[in-house]
Symmetry: C2
Subunit: 230 residues, 2 copies
């Protein structure tokens, strides 16, 4: 089984975005630790399956980050399941999970399920609006969610999601300090598009996620792998 | 450190209820695995401290089950922190925990914090009303919450709370089956007042909680210890 706590870098690919075979090959063979398939807008079972099949041609671990029950399909190595800790709507914390457990629980292999304690830190993002996160979030708040994840719930992953924007490094650093003496892997996502940014965040986060940049700045974003893996 | 997964029986004492020294001694020396201090109505820091000091005269492990931030005090062996998985109100799942982490997180020892994935199964109880739990809950739903706790969130404890009434044995059995192949300890609470009930629930639950009965039927309830520990 793949061990997330040994990872340093992942690419997140959006099933609703086009990627040509050549770039996909470079992503999958970049030396990244995993390719995560995930997105929110326009994600369907069909485009998830399509992308999975294409990634599966390469030996890189292939993970599905589940944002709706409809997109779940067997065939991935791991399933990342977010629970949005700073949501004010119970549905995004345990509600949808309850429905998924009720409907598909028996079919799932617990060893393949990795819960992510999510903190959505870009309050203007679509994800923030969709999940109804708290309307105020400073570095102290991020620290409190990191602590909740690592010291109280003791979840395998704390996912700090700046969704499209480059994060507040002071908050990243605080979260990392808290999680250092826990078994929780600290994943950072949001706005990384250069090797310098990857290196900066990678000093603190265990794993950095490079998402949109792969579509917008492919050359630069491929360099983020070496930036954190050296 | 005390290991909840080796326990079979606990007494839960309410800081807001009177208990004389003689009965308290019999409870603490009954052979139970722990005394849990917890309640909801009229719990204050003062009556929590008072009860803690009295229980501390005996070598039995002494646990605080936290239902409000105000009642938290150092001095207990462990702290049980419920997260009400079937609540529809985010405050009872992660909201209060976030506040506690923000205010007291640095002072807490993660090794002493045990999160309980709570399923409040008596929908007419005060606890159900207070926490705004879902308005329908059958054995399949209980099973889904057990699965969420044991297979998805992988929390240390699943707490099935019938709060004052004796539970649905079919639901208890289903939950136990699901949790058998997990690392989660299954704690059952609600309506146990006889050795027979203790034995029946104890076939399935890892730990049974005897609460109100200690006040109302002390002789009979003291027999529940031997009923599950044999």
């Amino acid at each position: 089984m793949y061990d997330v706590c040994e990872w340093r870098h992942v690419f997140k690919l959006d099933p609703n975005k086009e990627i040509d075979d050549e770039l996909l090959e470079r992503v999958c063979e970049s030396g990244t630790d995993a390719v995560v398939v995930g997105g929110s807008d326009g994600v369907t079972l069909e485009n998830v399956l399509d992308l999975m099949v294409r990634v599966r041609r390469y030996p890189v671990p292939c993970v599905l980050e589940v944002s709706s029950i409809e997109m779940v399909t067997p065939g991935f190595d791991l399933y990342f399941i977010p629970t949005v800790l700073n949501s004010t709507d119970a549905n995004w914390i345990t509600g949808l999970h309850y429905e998924a457990m009720k409907e598909y629980g028996e079919l799932m292999n617990p060893d393949e399920l990795i819960v992510e304690g999510y903190c959505i830190a870009n309050l203007d993002s679509k994800a923030a609006k969709l999940t109804g996160v708290q309307t105020k979030l400073d570095a102290e708040d991020v620290a409190a969610y990191a602590r909740m994840t690592g010291h109280l719930l003791k979840l395998p992953v704390f996912y700090l999601e700046y969704s499209g924007v480059y994060g507040d490094i002071a908050a990243v650093q605080k979260a990392a300090n808290i999680l250092r003496d826990s078994d929780t892997t600290f994943i950072y996502g949001g706005g990384i598009r250069t090797a310098e940014q990857a290196k900066e965040v990678g000093q603190y986060a265990d794993v950095i996620v490079v998402g949109n940049a792969i579509y917008d700045f492919p050359e630069e974003s491929l360099k983020t792998v070496a930036a954190v893996k050296k």
